[in-house]
């Protein structure tokens, strides 16, 4: 069984070109641009989920109906920034890990390409929800159906990304899967997915706290009963609850992560990141349970601490990836070097087959022409029967006595006859070569 697994692990060759930047710089760009991207993805997903939740609650309470609309307006900006910020990490991972990343996306190619229509439709649905808000006032269930569909899509789409960044780490699994759905079942996609969803809610909670707490946000214009304090308290509570849940999800991810990427550095980074979240959670707790006028007190510190958590987690992600792939990358480098060596050797010692013209000297003065004909023309012209084009015997009939017309035709053939495909031109041959060919053709006896 072990033996079989060994055989099934491919060792591709790497792209034999140097990195455009020092590796450490590319890694830094990858990790930071990815975190920037993922924060806006978090806000997009969290915003959509909250909009749906508030719309449902809004069927009974008007303020929640308005709250839903207010939150839905943030999706527009966050989604566009999420997409455009995704390009830099995509570019960077394709530079650093082309073989792994592209192998994984090719293996799940159907669903990978499906990202385009799925995300487009999800975005259009969020616009539809926003722009039909007042029109559908008398048909709220339809409006809810629209945002629910968008939410379902946004909850599914991250799985496509997760399946790929997971699959890329395990070449030993590439031979065992068939398409997206089998790769979905590999460890540890689902724990990572749940970890991500809770993170989205935590980040969105902080965002709502800030967005609705701004001095220039005309809160009283939208809400009759709900106060600013109440909304901010709910937003903080969401972040706190989601963060508490992460203390279960996080260990679950660690416990289900395949062993091959583990080392002490990883444990240190992850535990540090988790540790820094604890004071943030404490400050949130104090803000929620303390006096209303003090609710803003620790906000800066909370954002900073959780920001550091995010950076540590993002870095830990990369540490795992680097560890998991290091042994395989060494093998890949060996395979690449060997191939380059063999290719160079073959280039420097081309085999006899490379010599193109096989000149049969027994044919006398038309020997070269015959060899050129064999190479360039015989795939479409036979001596006596039609193959693709007319046979030589017909050419002799038409062109005997006008060799120049024949060489001209070979160079730039004229209009095709019905029933025959158009002959390609042979302008790339020299005038002499065309002469030789014409001479050979016209030497054939038609009997």
């Amino acid at each position: 069984m072990f033996q079989l697994l060994q055989i099934n692990t491919p060792v591709p060759r790497d792209i034999p070109l140097p990195l455009p930047l020092p590796e450490w710089l590319l890694v830094a760009l990858l990790v930071f641009s990815f975190l920037l991207h993922i924060i806006f993805v978090n806000l997009m997903i969290g915003g959509t989920v909250l909009t749906l939740w508030c719309q449902i609650k809004g069927l009974k309470e008007k303020d929640y109906h308005n709250l839903a609309h207010e939150i839905s307006r943030t999706i527009t900006v966050n989604k566009s920034l999420a997409v455009v910020l995704g390009v830099a990490p995509l570019l960077s991972i394709s530079t650093l890990y082309a073989t792994y990343f592209y192998s994984a996306t090719s293996l799940t190619g159907g669903m990978w390409i499906a990202l385009i229509p799925l995300i487009t439709v999800a975005f259009l649905l969020t616009y539809l929800n926003k722009y039909t808000w007042h029109v559908l006032d008398k048909n709220k269930p339809l409006s809810i159906a629209i945002i629910a569909t968008a939410t379902a899509l946004f909850l599914f789409i991250p799985l496509i990304f997760l399946v790929n960044v997971n699959l890329m780490l395990f070449p030993e699994k590439w031979g065992t899967i068939k398409g997206f759905f089998s790769a979905l079942l590999l460890p540890n996609v689902f724990p990572r997915y749940l970890h991500f969803i809770f993170a989205s809610m935590a980040v969105t909670g902080l965002f709502i706290f800030w967005y609705m707490g701004r001095k220039n946000y005309p809160f009283e214009m939208y809400f009759e009963k709900l106060t600013r304090y109440e909304i901010k308290k709910k937003a903080y509570s969401l972040t706190l609850a989601a963060s508490v849940a992460q203390f279960i999800m996080g260990p679950l991810v660690l416990l289900t992560l395949p062993t091959k990427g583990f080392d002490w550095k990883l444990i240190l980074v992850i535990l540090s990141g988790a540790g820094i979240a604890l004071p943030a959670m404490w400050w949130i707790w104090k803000a929620i349970t303390g006096n209303p006028e003090n609710i803003d007190r620790h906000f800066g510190k909370i954002v900073f601490a959780l920001g550091v958590t995010v950076i540590f987690m993002g870095s830990g992600r990369h540490v795992y990836r680097a560890n998991a792939l290091a042994p395989h990358q060494k093998l890949m480098a060996a395979n690449t070097a060997e191939f380059e060596r063999l290719s160079k050797e073959a280039r420097e010692n081309p085999i006899a087959e490379q010599v193109d013209l096989k000149i049969d000297s027994t044919l006398g003065p038309v020997a070269k022409g015959a060899a050129l004909f064999e190479l360039n023309c015989s795939s479409c012209h036979k001596e006596k029967e039609k193959l693709v084009g007319p046979p030589i015997v017909e050419m002799v009939e038409i062109y005997t006595g006008s060799k120049d017309k024949l060489t001209q035709w070979i160079k730039a053939p004229g209009k095709k006859r019905p029933g025959f495909p158009q002959m390609p031109g042979f302008a790339q041959l020299s005038d002499e070569d065309r002469e030789e060919i014409a001479q050979y053709i016209l030497s054939i006896k038609t009997k």
Binding site: I7, N8, T9, P10, V11, P12, R13, I15, L17, P20, T76, K79, V84, G86, L90, L91, S94, T95, A98, Y102, S103, T105, S106, G109, G110, I113, L115, I116, P117, T120, F123, L124, Y127, W174, G175, K178, F180, K330, L331, A334, E338, L342, S343, A346, R347, P350, I351, Q354, L375, N376, S379, C380, L387, V388, G419, P421, P424, G425, F426, Q428
Partner: protein
């Protein structure tokens, strides 16, 4: 061949990229670069034509805002996703080439990305602050100035991307200087930019013209004025677009001659080139007619009348893309990598040892009598499937039947003879890279395809089979050998030093 082979056996892999990319071109020319200045001009006219006590003509402004809303929605959904989609599709259809290009031109794409982020932010600001800006004249004028700024910035993104398109086609660029600057000095750069700029304006204008028939009622003054202004815009840009098109049309073969990768005389190129000529004439003339009508009889204009010229204008853009991409062949990276994703410098090795031996994923590392059809199938996947399907669009059965006669049973020997020399007659085709045995297996497979109507599935559905010669077992041994050789040579040096 280093990657699992994603494949769409009916649609054809190139067509997947083409559909996504051409949609993206429609949107970035017609709904962004060309559309935003058109809109800003209309917004400005709303202010200029309003009464002394008004900030702007609200009826007009609301119409323009609705038009911009369409542009905003389409660009931030389909526009953005087709842009990313080009990356996604190219990386599954042609991974070796894009991975190579990224390693060399990372900076160019990074700069392009920075410009894109800025453009997205600017478009968000322009659209989302529109209504608020109507509150004071100062705010409105600032908003309009912002629109002009966005228009210029949008054009700059086009100027940079055209450079990126250029360096991918440029003959000497790959082996010499790996910089974005070379994209700008490519002979095709200025013609392409001088074509794309007015054409984007033209397409933006005709699309806006179409929208003005949607957002106004017929026989109203509002429609008449909107139609008239759209027509004036189009009439300003149409002659420039035509001149640019002719200049670019002339520059394309020149670029090809310099590329020397395809003979200008190949029939396939000539067919596209001819079609292009007719579409240029057709598109520009229908657009001109509807614009002249729009000035002379604006009240008679109906949606259906504008739809055809609008479609033709988009088609005009699309066909140029097809012709431009044709220039690459038989290479995907000129002088380095063929469209079949194999490097030119590796061909001697493949011809000597066969290509199957070096494929990472194949069930047949060697051709034998018993596995001939299966080996032929694998050779097809490795060397032909990037451009040909089995029975679908541009099918291998179809191209041979066109040559030999439909329905006529294939002759394996003839197919092998043709395939061996096809790069001489059809210079847009890469040379067949494999050994003689592999060529025979491929020919047998092609005949089998004609007889059975068989198809192939891509790795995304079928999974992959790892070539034992390229698996961990084999490479571990290889690594041991390499390390031993290194140790031996180090020992030798130590001995000679002593």
């Amino acid at each position: 061949m280093d990657f699992p082979m994603f494949h769409l056996d009916w649609l054809n892999d190139r067509f997947l990229i083409a559909i996504i990319a051409i949609l993206h071109v429609f949107i970035n020319h017609g709904l962004a670069v060309g559309f935003i200045p058109y809109i800003t001009r209309l917004e400005q006219q709303g202010v200029m034509n309003s009464g002394p006590d008004q900030i702007t003509n609200l009826e007009w402004d609301n119409m323009v805002h609705k038009m911009m809303k369409v542009g905003f929605i389409v660009t931030t959904t389909l526009g953005a996703m087709t842009g990313v989609g080009i990356w996604l599709s190219v990386s599954v259809v042609s991974p070796s080439s894009i991975a190579s290009l990224i390693k060399v031109f990372y900076w160019a794409w990074f700069i392009e990305w920075l410009v894109f982020v800025t453009e997205v932010v600017l478009i968000l600001i322009y659209f989302l602050t529109w209504k608020n800006s109507n509150k004071s004249l100062k705010a409105k004028l600032r908003h309009i100035r912002f629109g002009w700024f966005l228009s210029v910035f949008s054009w700059i993104t086009m100027a940079i991307i055209v450079s990126i398109l250029g360096f991918m086609m440029d003959p000497g660029n790959w082996n010499n200087q790996h910089s974005l600057i070379n994209g700008f000095t490519n002979p095709i750069y200025i013609p392409q930019l001088l074509f794309r700029t007015p054409t984007a304006m033209l397409v933006g204008g005709i699309f806006g013209y179409l929208l003005s028939t949607v957002f106004t009622k017929k026989n109203t003054t509002l429609r008449a004025r909107a139609v008239k202004q759209s027509s004036i815009w189009i009439l300003i840009w149409a002659p420039l677009s035509l001149i640019g098109a002719i200049y670019y049309y002339r520059a394309l073969p020149q670029a090809m001659v310099e590329n020397m990768s395809t003979a200008v005389g190949t029939l396939e190129f000539a067919q596209y080139y001819d079609l292009l000529k007719w579409i240029i004439i057709g598109a520009v003339s229908t657009v001109l007619i509807i614009s002249l009508l729009g000035i002379w009889k604006p009240k008679k204009i109906r949606f259906a009348m504008v739809l055809i010229p609008c479609i033709m204008a988009f088609g005009f853009l699309g066909i140029f893309e097809r012709v431009r991409e044709f220039i690459r062949k038989p290479y995907v990276i000129k002088g380095y990598m063929y469209s079949n994703l194999l490097r030119e410098e590796d061909y001697p090795l493949y011809k000597r040892d066969g290509i199957l031996k070096y494929a990472i994923y194949t069930s047949t590392p060697e051709v034998t009598e018993s596995n001939k059809i299966g080996a032929g199938r694998n050779v097809f996947i490795l060397t032909c499937s990037r451009c040909h399907t089995t029975q679908g669009i541009n099918s291998i059965v179809g191209v041979f039947e066109k040559m030999y006669g439909p329905g006529k049973p294939f002759d394996e020997g003839a197919i092998a003879a043709f395939t061996k020399g096809m790069h001489n007659g059809r210079t847009f085709m890469p040379e067949f890279p494999g050994s003689k045995k592999e060529l025979d297996a491929l020919s047998a497979y092609i005949k089998h395809l004609q007889q059975t109507g068989d198809v192939i599935e891509g790795a995304q559905n079928e999974g992959i089979v790892v070539n034992p010669k390229q698996s961990i077992d084999a490479v571990v041994k290889l690594l041991e050998k390499q390390e031993k050789q290194k140790a031996d040579s180090l020992a030798e040096v130590a001995v000679t030093k002593n």
